[in-house]
Symmetry: C2
Amino acid sequence: MEMRAVNSMSYEQFVDVFGNVIEKCPLIAAAVWTDHPFSNLSALEKSIGDFIDSLPRSGKEGILRCHPDLAGRDLLRGTLSPESQGEQNRAGLTSLTPGQRSQLSELNVSYKSRFNFPFVICVRMNDRETIIQQLSSRIRNIPEQELHISIQEVKKICHLRLLDISSQVAQATKL
Amino acid sequence: MEMRAVNSMSYEQFVDVFGNVIEKCPLIAAAVWTDHPFSNLSALEKSIGDFIDSLPRSGKEGILRCHPDLAGRDLLRGTLSPESQGEQNRAGLTSLTPGQRSQLSELNVSYKSRFNFPFVICVRMNDRETIIQQLSSRIRNIPEQELHISIQEVKKICHLRLLDISSQVAQATKL
């Protein structure tokens, strides 16, 4: 990645570009801007990870609660973030069979009532079958373990979103 | 405030209602939901304040960087949050004289270049004259002191937004 372009961004530009690498949490991009300049993309990713790890448990739960349900309310209403919309599309969550849709919907309800946050998974590393499998399996975890796994998934989503932005920035700086 | 209505909200409802009491930081409302039920509005406000205080310095700066400039880019583009739009309107920031507008704009630039976050003030407790006065004066603070003052202002804005929501919830539960 062309880090000079990133490191020369004002905080406003930085938040415009990186504000949603953690879903609906521009606060996190805005916070890690403090650590710039970044030597490379991994250094930026590490800053984000470290910031998340520094949060109290409620803060980590808060990050998860800013995520939409998979194939849920926001997908139906068309109010997903552009990033989530693309990710849920590609994973086939917009073309579920009626059976899969009702299974996922019921599992989402049970999961949220057990953990008090939504099921978060890096859908780009899965398809609709493995997503339903994972949800059915992870719902049996203990809360501590499940919080940890979910935050790891948030970091995977962030990693792929950073790569996307990286190639966009690389293209833009070539123009 | 009718806290039963608040305490019976799902986290989704809670974030829908309280997500912007800290400007563009739904993460914070989503995090403090962990502390519910709240005995009263002050208890909710205290949870928010405690969460902010628990953040590392970069996190506090991140909160400030999620705030728009006063009479800045977002006001011109019409992309302010509804809360900020109302607050900046009432403070007279949408009807500045040309002289005031260019003075504020120049001060904003100097302030941001000194502190790396925007000037944040509870505009509802001020008018355009005192806002410009405060900005001219606070720009001379040392960064540590200015970060502290700014976070106090964030909490004042939050206090007033909570009161607004409180009266809306009270009216809605009467219906």
